[in-house]
Amino acid sequence: MDIFKLFACCIPVKGFINYIICDLQRAEFINIPEVLYEILTVHKNKRILEIKSNYNKENHQFIDEYFEFLENNECGFWCDIDEIKNFPDLNLKFESPELINNAIVDIDKNSKHDYVKIFNELDELKCKFIEIRSFDVLRICDLCDILHDVKNKIFRNIDIIIKYYKNIENDINENKLFSEFTNIGVVSIHSSPKNKKSVNSNLVYSEKVIKTCNDCGEIDIDKFTLNIDTFTEAHHFNTCLNKKVSIDSNGNIKNCPAFNYSYGNVNNGGSIGEIVKMQEFSKYWSITKDQIHTCKDCEYRYICSDCRAFVDDIFDKPRKCNYNPYEGKWE
């Protein structure tokens, strides 16, 4: 056993000066030095002696240490040359059967949404994930009225982002929000007096103030997503916009609520189903991070949330991202 084999779910990614291994099963990334990246890619599946023969003798000890480090982090295992063919790489294809996979519905105090229509149309589209985001105070009992129309729908997960008010947690319990609506995932409470996470972590309080859909688009290490779905999707599509539809607080049907143009208004007869089928609607879906200036040189490009709304040009790096991949620093 003289070959160190990375697990297929641990994938090395090269940035301009930094290198990482994306661990798609344990949802973390590990920084690695350039030379280890080279060993894992250029010298992939080679015997350790053969690898060492490419480097000066004084570096051999470091090579042993690198492999020890990877083994300790359970990124791979030692195997024989005969076994290598049994361990193929992860296939990076990405496909999904639905036209629309996720939707955002924004609400503010002036919203006059026809929720029955919105949820029926999203259900018809087989949309799986919904985010309901309220900028102003929305009482839990009023939220329950809205959600009532979602009850027998196909939505696998509904996340709620809602503004803090006194006794909100009480109302959540009193209305049995989580037991009544079993497909609710996380309820995030913004504009809260303090940051707090509940024990079972499906209730999160945050001091962050979200007043409009423009309070979005920050790129942050905490928002990176490390899983096979996102990683493979990022190789072929835009992870921010692909298969997404948004209803902004005025009822406008958009790809992202922060875009300044819409394709129709759901409350004025616009059909979500018809709009998302328009060719124009999906024009940005296939912009991958490998095509975006600066981002294409960033080691985080396949795990980053991206943002195509706050940019100067659609192929520019997100304006609210302060990571500089050329320096390898958050500014």
Binding site: F7, A8, C9, Q25, R26, E74, F77, K85, N86, F87, P88, D89, L90, N91, L92, K93, E95, P97, E98, K126, R156, I228, T232
Partner: protein, 328 residues
Amino acid sequence: MILIISKEKTELSTEEVIDWIVFFGKKFIRINGDEFSKKGNVEISLDNSDLLIKYKDIEIPFSKVSFVWFRRWLDRDFYDLYNNSDIDYSIIDQLIFYQSSNIISLRELLFKFLDKKKWLSPPSKIVLNKIHVLVEASRVGFNIPETKICSTRRELINFFNTHKKIISKDLNDPLFFFDEQNYYTSITNVISKRKILGLSDEFPPSFFQKLVEKRYEIRIFYLNKKCYSMAIFSQNDKRTKIDFRNYNEGNPNRFVPYKLPRDIEKKIILLMQNLDLTTGSIDMIKDKFGNYIFLEINPVGQFGMVSEPCNYYLEKEIAKYLISQDNG
């Protein structure tokens, strides 16, 4: 038309296959055991010599069903009886027995009328006997662990003394049961000398095997002569060393795509054909010496747990297979 027999809850994989059937623009009808027997979402009416199924808005005669995909039936859930304070507890067992037999007769009705259709996993084929499967596996040339079924402490001690390290397993399917808070299941366990000495002289017949020291486990999802395999590195973690289902959420085992050698795949295909199975999940071990050891077949095993970490899109493959078999 494709008929899917499933259950209402915890069947995400079934739903993902359905998403792909919809993607390919094909029609299907679904019967969930629990909805059929309890909730009244399913109706069956007699139309002279044919039966008519109605599920939500779709109504079709059984004669129009050309292919059946059987994905389990229902969880036996009788909470409502236990929670009913009007019922005298002494008769609950009898009521459960009565209700079970009603549900079974409904299921039998379906199976009888669909008897001549093409099925993926016909109910008559999926009742496997572990010992029979081991014998058949050995016949096609697989290594299998030394196995013993016994019911006395004396015999078990002999078996233990021969092999030193032994495990116990379910003779039949694993047991699952729930109460309000917890969920219990039987898993594979190491049997120590101490445990054996603590047993009574005689016990119900139980299944024992020599413990195979594994390098990694292999889970194969088999569909129509194709093997989709995954290696499970459960060896490093004490909790998962014997049975990876004893899952460690904080530090999950590695699940990676695996390509079996051609001769092993050929044996699997032969074995599945001999057992008349078109699909199933197969458990194997690669032992410390590099041998492939056959363990067992689960005819309605989960494919989601192989599909997701290996990015195999098995849900799409199954949908394609169902569609290819459906001629109506």
